[in-house]
């Protein structure tokens, strides 16, 4: 922009800030650091930060700020041109045992054993698609970084490592083609999920019966895991302090939440059909958000024999953030019961949930995420947030801004009429058939 600037960052983000500036082409950016944290401090405490020293340089903080704007640039700081980033040689040779350690110690894995991607195994994986090994599939970034690109062959390496069979490969290519990473560089600890629809669920023996979200089938387990390995290896995600900043972390990042829809036992249209695909199409749909919670704990689950799943779900949503959507994960028994209650389609239930899950403006404004995410949008005039922030405290507004924030998928083994729900938003659906 031609305007000298001095970024101020708290000490906790030191490495990140330097790396980030370098990735954007300014390896020498003059960053000034304050003590951490700033949030929750009084004006007096912050005043002391300013009068004190930069905890990284140990020089007076304000001198650092003024110097950053006024000290003439060095030769390095004026440099332009291109720098290439290396990721090491194309292959490694050693004993299987040493390579297992090497992959683990170099951050290629999720810190669990992998199938070593020998050329033979990668070639076998490549037989799972008709696409050329050198075809560029897409680009991925774990946040606001320059994305890395990758070929069919590079996707195959992560697929082998995760334990996938070659017939799973088109699903991984479909995911990779979206460019969405399952590890994201926010201080929030996000979770990711995918819904798989179409005949491929049976062809690959996905589990959508008893324990469908758990460790009970190779397709569910390895395809979910491969997404995280791709995010690390192809998208450069998951480096704590650099491309991963989630303060507390999320257990769901190991295998992601893989949901094969139980289309056969569901009384409703499958998710991909709702998105405009044909029933016989094979589709993977990606979600991002915070996590999955069980529904049977909510009120409205009824102590008598008249269970009200609609009220139960709505009650459960009251501690969800409206920043992400609500994904209802219904056991077929729940879905059938809801249909008996009059929700003939998923859309009807969504309409009811949207209208009946509400909050007061006062409660809304007191929510952490509202200030963090929605208030800036309100400032920009984005609706509905701009209106919500102008309403009186006792006005009642929807918990989620749009009916389209709700999604419904059916999975489970019908051993009990329990729903689960994820505080997650729909991202995109990708055709698997295109990658066969």
């Amino acid at each position: 922009m031609g305007i000298p600037s001095a970024p101020i960052v708290t000490k906790a983000f030191k490495d990140l800030a330097i790396l980030n500036a370098a990735k954007r082409g300014m390896p020498h950016e003059r960053i000034c650091f304050t003590q951490h944290p700033v949030w929750g401090k009084t004006p007096d405490e912050l005043h002391a930060y300013i009068e004190g020293q930069d905890p990284v340089s140990n020089k007076p903080f304000m001198k650092e700020v003024v110097d950053a704007l006024t000290v003439p640039l060095s030769d390095d700081e004026k440099k332009s041109g291109m720098v290439t980033v290396s990721v090491g040689p194309p292959t490694f040779t050693d004993t299987a045992e040493n390579l297992q350690d090497f992959y683990l110690n170099n951050g290629y894995t999720d810190f669990l054993p992998v199938i070593l991607p020998t050329e033979e195994k990668v070639d076998a994986m490549l037989k799972g698609t008709t696409h050329h090994p050198d075809e560029v599939v897409g680009k991925m970034a774990a946040g606001a970084y320059p994305p890395w690109s990758y070929t069919v062959r590079q996707v195959a390496a992560s697929a082998v490592m995760a334990g996938c069979r070659p017939e799973y490969f088109p699903i991984l290519l479909a995911i990779a083609s979206t460019g969405i990473a399952s590890l994201f560089s926010s201080t929030n600890s996000f979770a990711f999920s995918m819904i798989v629809n179409g005949p491929i669920r049976d062809k690959l023996e996905f589990n959508y019966g008893i324990g469908s979200l758990g460790p009970f089938a190779q397709a569910n387990a390895t395809i979910g895991r491969a997404w995280t390995l791709m995010s690390k290896n192809l998208g450069n995600g998951g480096i704590p302090g650099d491309t991963y900043l989630g303060s507390v972390g999320n257990n769901l990042n190991y295998n992601n939440v893989v949901i094969a829809e139980n289309e056969e036992a569901s009384p409703w249209d499958p998710f991909h059909v709702q998105r405009g695909f044909k029933k016989e199409d094979n589709v993977v749909s990606l979600f991002r958000g915070l996590g999955v919670v069980p529904g049977q704990v909510a009120r409205g689950s009824s102590a008598n024999e008249n269970v009200q799943f609609d009220y139960q779900l709505s009650d459960l949503f009251s501690t969800f953030t409206g920043f992400f959507g609500a994904l209802v994960i219904a056991d077929p028994l729940v879905a059938v019961r809801l249909k008996e209650q009059g929700y003939e389609t998923k859309e009807k239930l969504i309409d009811w949930l949207y209208k009946n899950t509400t909050q007061t403006v006062k409660d809304y404004k007191s929510r952490n995420y509202a200030y963090l995410f929605d208030y800036p949008r309100a400032l920009r005039g984005d609706e509905p947030w701009a209106s919500w922030y102008k309403m009186p405290d006792d006005a009642v507004i929807p918990h989620f801004p749009h009916a389209s924030d709700f999604n419904i998928v059916v999975t489970g083994g019908q051993t009990n009429a329990y729903p689960q729900a994820a505080n997650m938003s729909y991202g995109v659906s990708a055709s698997i058939d295109k990658w066969m």
């Binding site: 700033v38 720098v83 980033v85 292959t91 890395w148 192809l234």
Partner: protein, 143 residues
């Protein structure tokens, strides 16, 4: 971690950092075992067989170096924008900085602005305003 070590972790060549000509850098990392053993021979050997595996990494883009903007001779008489990107507490921090300037460098005009839009998104109107009316920027991106 110092800056050089951090950057070399990124795969950026230390050569570039040392102000020589910017050229494609080869990785400093050695492959674990440079010796390739023919699998057939390995099987005959008494020790465990060596195998070859592929590098699972994607292809990072080249990074375009951005020359930093020329610095000012002094801040006196200049307009400095204090930009709040919206994290908790950063507005209060910048207000304290504003007071510091009033007390210690009264010749500096400071303008406090909260960036509109979510933190990861640009605010072109604000950038335009700064370009037209400002001489320098202090941005709080912390927490």
């Amino acid at each position: 971690m110092n800056r050089r070590k951090l950057l070399s972790l990124l795969g950026m060549s230390p050569v570039v950092m040392a102000a020589e000509s910017a050229l494609a850098a080869q990785s400093e990392k050695k492959p674990v075992a440079p010796v390739t053993t023919h699998p057939a021979l390995a099987r005959l050997a008494t020790g465990p067989a060596k195998i070859t595996t592929v590098n699972p990494k994607g292809t990072p883009p080249a990074i375009q170096l951005i020359p930093m903007a020329p610095r000012l001779d002094s801040l006196d008489g200049k307009t400095v924008y204090l930009v709040d990107t919206g994290f908790h507490g950063s507005d209060m921090l910048l207000q304290q900085i504003q007071e510091w300037f009033k007390a210690n460098m009264p010749g500096v005009t400071t303008v406090f602005k909260r960036k509109a839009g979510p933190y990861a998104q640009d605010d072109p109107a604000l950038w335009k305003e700064i370009k037209e009316k400002g001489n320098a920027v202090i941005m709080a991106v912390g927490h």
